[in-house]
């Protein structure tokens, strides 16, 4: 009996001890929950092992909090349970206002985010979405992690793509610019190739003639030189043609770029040109009228060349027995540029009473080496109007012509008026 009591006594004591241990354990758990415990010392095999929050969980918490990426968790229903400071800064709202709100209220592409959420079932889900906070759109990359079954929530890591997107856009723009430049260069190359074909042909023709007629002189030596006078004449004319061709080509190549820009009074330019052409104007009893011409910004050398070419042409292609009359007038025109209807131009018109031309030939006359007459009718290399076209293009404008056969031609020059 005494033995039985002893046993009961022992069990009661043990029970009491277990109760105390349980209470202590409960108190530790509570303390951990309340955040009161910083460290635990556990006795294992006679050694004291220290487990502290500093070395374990706290590191993780700190990592998430100070992370250079946005981190948050949302409930099954989509409420934000937690967000780190980075995310709060990213969307420019205080963290305490974000917690509890719906994550979707910050998402621009809700459909895309829903898709990412749905694909979570098959594992990790990542993708790009756009956030929209008070109208400010932020492109982000999100990585979703399902926290179930441990927690009924989803963890989200948010990477800001704004900078990356900006760089990408800058790169794309650069790429496009580069492609345009390449296309431009190809076009220039094609033009150049075309140009070389054309000039090589026109230069080769007089050379071929010189060789042909000189060979004839050498190969048939016994004929008197008098009978070969025509050969010599042709050789001389071919050489002169070659010379004038080179002169004109130099003029043409000088108009490739717009050199020094200055304010130019076109009345003065016209006066100078008329002065230069005085001899031929008097010889042909020509009348040249102009007044109230505008001032433009451009190259003085090229303006002189332009009007000199146009007036020389009008004097050259004059009607037989009709005194040439050339009138230069100026107006202001808009609606000239199809893509910039409002763009304003100074429009100058150079009108003559010369031979004019067929409508079907009008589009040809500005092409280099393109001629409407044989050299016997009118001399020339077919470069003058090509130079005029190029000068107008250099000045951001253009040249057009109106003409009727036997009724004269009017050349219209359009100079863009620059907004100040």
């Amino acid at each position: 009996m005494k033995g039985k009591d002893l046993n009961t006594q022992h069990l009661l004591e043990e029970n009491q001890e277990l109760k105390v241990q349980l209470m202590e354990a409960q108190a530790i758990i509570d303390a951990i929950r309340e955040g009161e415990v910083d460290a635990l010392v556990v006795n294992a095999n006679g050694h004291a092992n220290l487990y502290s929050l500093e070395s374990a969980d706290y590191t993780y918490r700190l990592l998430i909090e100070k992370f250079g990426e946005g981190a948050l968790s949302i409930s099954d229903k989509g409420n934000v349970l937690y967000c780190n400071q980075y995310f709060a800064n990213l969307i420019n709202l205080p963290a305490h206002k974000i917690v509890g709100s719906f994550f979707n209220s910050y998402v621009d592409s809700v459909g895309q985010f829903k898709e990412l959420q749905d694909s979570l079932a098959s594992g990790l889900s990542k993708g790009e979405i756009v956030l929209n906070v008070n109208g400010v759109k932020i492109p982000v990359y999100v990585s979703l992690t399902d926290l179930r079954p441990t927690l009924p929530a989803i963890g989200i890591i948010v990477t800001d793509l704004s900078e990356k997107r900006k760089t990408e856009e800058a790169l794309e723009l650069y790429q496009r610019k580069l492609e345009n430049k390449v296309a431009e260069l190809n076009e220039t190359n094609n033009d150049l190739e075309q140009f070389i074909h054309v000039i090589s042909h026109d230069i080769k023709e007089p050379i071929r003639k010189i060789v042909t007629y000189a060979s004839d002189l050498i190969e048939v030596p016994n004929e008197p030189i008098e009978s070969k006078k025509d050969n010599l004449k042709i050789i001389k004319n071919s050489a002169l043609r070659l010379n004038s061709l080179v002169d004109d080509l130099v003029k043409y190549s000088m108009t490739t770029t717009k050199n020094s820009e200055q304010e130019i009074d076109l009345n003065e330019v016209l006066a100078d040109v008329v002065d230069d052409l005085e001899i031929i104007i008097i010889e042909r009893s020509a009348k040249i009228n102009f007044r109230d011409l505008p001032k433009i910004k451009g190259s003085l050398v090229q303006m002189r060349q332009l009007f000199s070419n146009l007036i020389s042409n009008s004097l050259k292609y004059r009607k037989v027995k009709v005194k040439p009359k050339i009138t230069i007038t100026a107006t202001v025109a808009s609606g000239v540029d199809a893509s910039f209807q409002k763009k304003v131009f100074n429009k100058l018109s150079v009108q003559d009473n010369g031979i004019g031309m067929n409508e079907e030939n009008i589009k040809k006359i500005f092409t280099i080496f393109q001629r409407l007459h044989t050299p016997e009718q009118y001399s020339g290399n077919g470069i003058g109007l090509a130079i005029c076209k190029r000068i107008m293009e250099n000045h951001g404008g253009r040249i057009e012509v109106e003409s009727k056969l036997n009724e004269g031609s009017t050349f219209h020059l359009y100079f863009p008026v620059k907004a100040n």
Binding site: H197, H201, E205, R208, D216, N361, F369, Q370, T374
Partner: protein, 133 residues
């Protein structure tokens, strides 16, 4: 051996000096009976349209000519059912590969290069007769 004779040729050539040489070369050649010169592509097309009842056996045209060049005239001839059967030859100081391709597309029989001596000009009728066969 078959001997070609009595050919009627029209030559489009804007340059008087070249025209004088080439006309002489054809006149000297025994295969040609009639040689006509026109001064550019437009005159060539007009001539052919005006002479549909008595079309030439051969056309020879320069390329670079005012108003209408040789290639443009070739195109007009090629697209005219009454004229497209006339064998057309092209000749010029230089012929770029691009032009040569274009001429071939428009049914031209051959592209010849203008030679550097009068003796070689005399060979052009031979080349044309040879390529005609």
């Amino acid at each position: 051996m078959e001997v070609t004779t009595g050919l009627n040729i029209v030559i489009a050539e804007d340059d008087t000096d070249d025209a004088n040489i080439i006309i002489k070369s054809f006149n000297r050649h025994k295969a040609f009976k009639k040689v006509t010169r026109v001064k550019n592509g437009q005159e060539l097309v007009n001539y052919l349209k005006d002479n549909k009842s008595d079309l030439p056996d051969i056309v020879l045209t320069d390329i670079n000519m005012p108003i209408k060049n040789g290639v443009e005239a070739l195109s007009d001839i090629f697209h005219d059912s009454a004229l497209c059967k006339i064998p057309v030859f092209v000749y010029s100081s230089t012929i770029s590969p691009m032009y040569e391709r274009k001429c071939k597309e428009l049914g031209c029989k051959a592209c010849l290069i203008k030679p550097f001596s009068i003796a070689e000009f005399d060979d052009i009728p031979n080349q044309i007769v040879y390529k005609l066969k």
